[in-house]
C-alpha cells in the first residue's frame, strides 16, 4: 500500500500535481492512476509455429548468422502502469530468409522481465515468406494475475509499407493495429548496420 507521501512524490515526478498540492490521498491515487494508465497492447494471432519450452537465452543470433543484427527491448507493464517484474516473454521468428525452425529452437526464446520490468534480446531482422506479407516477431507474454498477451511486432522499415507504415499497415491482413508497427533505429556503417527496436508490452489484469 502506498503512503500519501509516496503517492505525492510519484505524482510530482509525473507532473500530475504541484508541490503545493493539498489533494487528498484518494484524489492523489486517482490522479496517479490516470496519469500512468496504459492501453493494453493489441493482440494478434499466435500460430502456426509456436513451440513450447524455448530456451531462456537473450542471444538468438549467433555471431556468424547472416542478416541484419537486431536488438529488441522494452518494458512490460500492466494497464495501471505498474512494471511487471518476472513476466515471461516468449518470442519466436523466422531467420533472415523467412524460415521457421521447427526441428530445433533457432530464433526462439523465453525471457524473464528483470526487476525493472525490462526484457531484451539480440536477433536478426526476420525475413519475408510467401504465406505472410510482413516481417514480424511473435510474442507471448504471461504474468501471474494478468491476461496472457499474444501479439506480433512489425517493423516500420519493412519495404511492404513503402515508407508509410501508418497508412499501409493493413497491407498485411493479419496486422490489425498500427501500434504494433514500431520505429526502427538503424546504427553503424552502411555495410554493418544494426537495428534497434523498442517494444513496450502492456498486459490486462485478470
Amino acid at each position: 500500500m502506498l503512503s500519501r507521501r509516496d503517492l505525492l512524490s510519484k505524482c510530482i515526478a509525473l507532473g500530475v500535481v504541484t508541490v503545493s498540492s493539498n489533494l487528498s490521498t484518494s484524489a492523489l491515487a486517482s490522479a496517479w492512476q490516470q496519469a500512468e494508465a496504459k492501453a493494453p497492447t493489441p493482440a494478434a494471432e499466435l500460430g502456426p509455429f509456436y513451440k513450447r519450452d524455448a530456451p531462456s537465452t537473450a542471444s538468438l543470433r549467433a555471431a556468424s548468422d547472416p542478416g541484419i543484427p537486431l536488438t529488441v527491448a522494452g518494458l512490460v507493464f500492466d494497464t495501471r502502469g505498474e512494471k511487471l517484474e518476472g513476466a515471461k516473454v516468449e518470442v519466436w521468428q523466422t531467420d533472415h530468409t523467412g524460415h521457421y525452425d521447427l526441428k530445433g529452437f533457432r530464433y526462439r526464446a523465453a525471457l524473464i522481465a528483470d526487476n525493472s520490468g525490462k526484457y531484451s534480446f539480440n536477433s536478426v531482422m526476420p525475413g519475408h515468406y510467401p504465406g505472410r506479407v510482413c516481417q514480424h516477431i511473435h510474442f507471448a507474454v504471461t504474468a501471474p494475475g494478468h491476461q496472457p498477451l499474444v501479439t506480433q511486432l512489425y517493423f516500420a522499415t519493412d519495404p511492404v509499407f513503402e515508407g508509410d507504415p501508418y497508412k499501409n499497415y493493413t497491407r498485411d491482413p493479419l496486422c490489425r493495429s498500427r501500434e504494433l508497427v514500431r520505429p526502427v533505429v538503424l546504427k553503424g556503417d552502411p555495410d554493418a548496420i544494426m537495428a534497434n527496436v523498442n517494444f513496450e508490452l502492456v498486459l490486462e489484469r485478470l
Partner: protein, 317 residues
C-alpha cells in the same frame, strides 16, 4: 498467422488433370457450377458437401446430380461440417457465425459464436451438439437445437485450431494453440489434457469406435492417443512437413494426412499412415488438385478438382 480455412483455400491454386495410380480407384464424378475450394463427405459417402470459390455451400446427394446451393447474405462460408446422418450441415461464416442448415428447410439455427473467423466445426454423432474451434477463443460447445452456448474451453495461450467428437457422443477433443490437447465431456467439463509434442497441433480425428484419437500438426508426425486416459499410444514417422488435416479410415487402421510445405504453406503431399505396420506412404496424386477428403462405408475418399466445374471422388486402395 493462418486460419485452417485459409490454408484449405490455398488448395484451389491449380486445376491440373488428376494423377492416376494403382493406389486410387476412380469413383463418382460431380458437376459443380463453380470451382470448389473445400469438400468432404457425409452419410457414409452418400453425400458430399463443399465450399465454392464464391463462398457458398454446395451439397450433392447420391447418385450425385445437381447440387443443392446455399448462399449466406451475411458473409462468405469459411468452414463446413455435416452430421453423421446427413440431416444437418453447419456452415461457419467468416464473420464468426455458424448457420445450422437443414437439408429440407434451410437455416434451422444461427449461432453467434464469435466475431472472428472460425477454424473448425464438429457435430456430435447424434447431431445434437456442435463443438466450434475459433480464431480468438478456446473451443466452444453449443446445443444445436436450443442455439445456446453450453461451455467454453480453456487455454493458457491463444485459441484452438481443430476439434473432433467421439462417435459415442460422450466426449470431444480440442487441439489448442498452446500445444495442448484438451478433452471435454458432452457438458463441456474437462476430462484430461495431454500433448503430442511441443509444436502446435492442427488436426484431430477419432477412430470410428471412439476409443482412440489421432493428432497431427506443425511437428509433422501423427500421434495416436487412448481416448479414455489421454495416454500416447503410438507416433508415426514424419516427412518433415507440417500436417494440417487428418481423415480416419472407417476401419480405424489408417489415417490420411494433408502435408503443407512449411515455407510456402502450399499442399506438399497426402500421406497414409498404416497404424499397425507404422508404414507411411505418399499417395501418387497431384496434391494441388485435392480439395478435400472423406470416407464411404469402408474406405478413405479423396475429393479432387477435375477442372473448374467438376469434382472426382477417388477411393484410396
Amino acid at each position: 498467422m493462418r486460419s485452417r480455412t485459409f490454408l484449405l483455400l490455398l488448395l484451389i491454386t491449380a486445376f491440373a488433370a488428376p494423377s492416376h495410380s494403382q493406389q486410387l480407384r476412380a469413383g463418382a464424378k460431380l458437376q459443380s457450377p463453380v470451382p470448389i475450394v473445400y469438400a468432404t463427405t457425409c452419410l457414409n459417402g452418400n453425400q458430399v458437401v463443399g465450399i465454392g470459390k464464391d463462398g457458398d455451400v454446395y451439397t450433392w446427394s447420391a447418385p450425385f446430380g445437381q447440387p443443392r446451393h446455399f448462399h449466406s447474405a451475411d458473409a462468405r462460408v469459411g468452414t463446413v461440417s455435416c452430421s453423421a446422418d446427413g440431416k444437418w450441415t453447419a456452415a461457419g461464416l467468416r464473420n464468426g457465425t455458424v448457420l445450422v442448415l437443414n437439408s429440407e428447410s434451410g437455416i434451422a439455427q444461427r449461432l453467434d459464436v464469435t466475431q472472428h473467423d472460425l477454424q473448425a466445426i464438429a457435430f456430435s454423432a447424434d447431431g445434437t451438439l456442435l463443438a466450434v474451434a475459433t480464431n480468438d477463443s478456446p473451443t466452444q460447445l453449443w446445443d444445436v437445437q436450443k442455439g445456446q452456448r453450453l461451455a467454453t474451453g480453456t487455454t493458457i495461450l491463444g485459441a484452438s485450431t481443430a476439434v473432433a467428437f467421439a462417435s459415442g457422443n460422450n466426449m470431444y477433443v480440442s487441439a489448442d494453440e498452446d500445444t495442448t490437447l484438451r478433452a471435454y465431456d458432452r457438458s463441456g467439463k474437462s476430462l484430461f489434457k495431454t500433448e503430442a509434442d511441443n509444436l502446435e497441433p492442427f488436426a484431430v480425428v477419432f477412430t470410428p469406435d471412439g476409443k482412440q484419437f489421432a493428432v497431427a500438426g506443425a511437428g509433422g508426425t501423427i500421434t495416436l492417443f487412448d481416448a479414455a486416459t489421454g495416454h500416447k499410444l503410438k507416433t508415426s514417422k514424419t516427412n518433415g512437413n507440417p500436417i494440417f488435416n487428418l481423415m480416419m479410415a472407417p476401419s480405424g487402421g489408417q489415417v490420411a494426412a494433408l502435408e503443407l510445405d512449411d515455407y510456402r504453406l502450399e499442399p506438399a503431399a497426402i500421406t497414409i499412415w498404416d497404424i499397425k505396420s507404422n508404414e507411411l506412404r505418399k499417395l501418387a496424386v497431384d496434391v494441388k488438385t485435392v480439395v478435400g477428403a472423406g470416407t464411404d462405408k469402408s474406405n478413405l475418399i479423396l475429393i479432387q478438382s477435375d477442372g473448374p466445374n467438376a469434382l472426382s471422388l477417388w477411393t484410396v486402395q
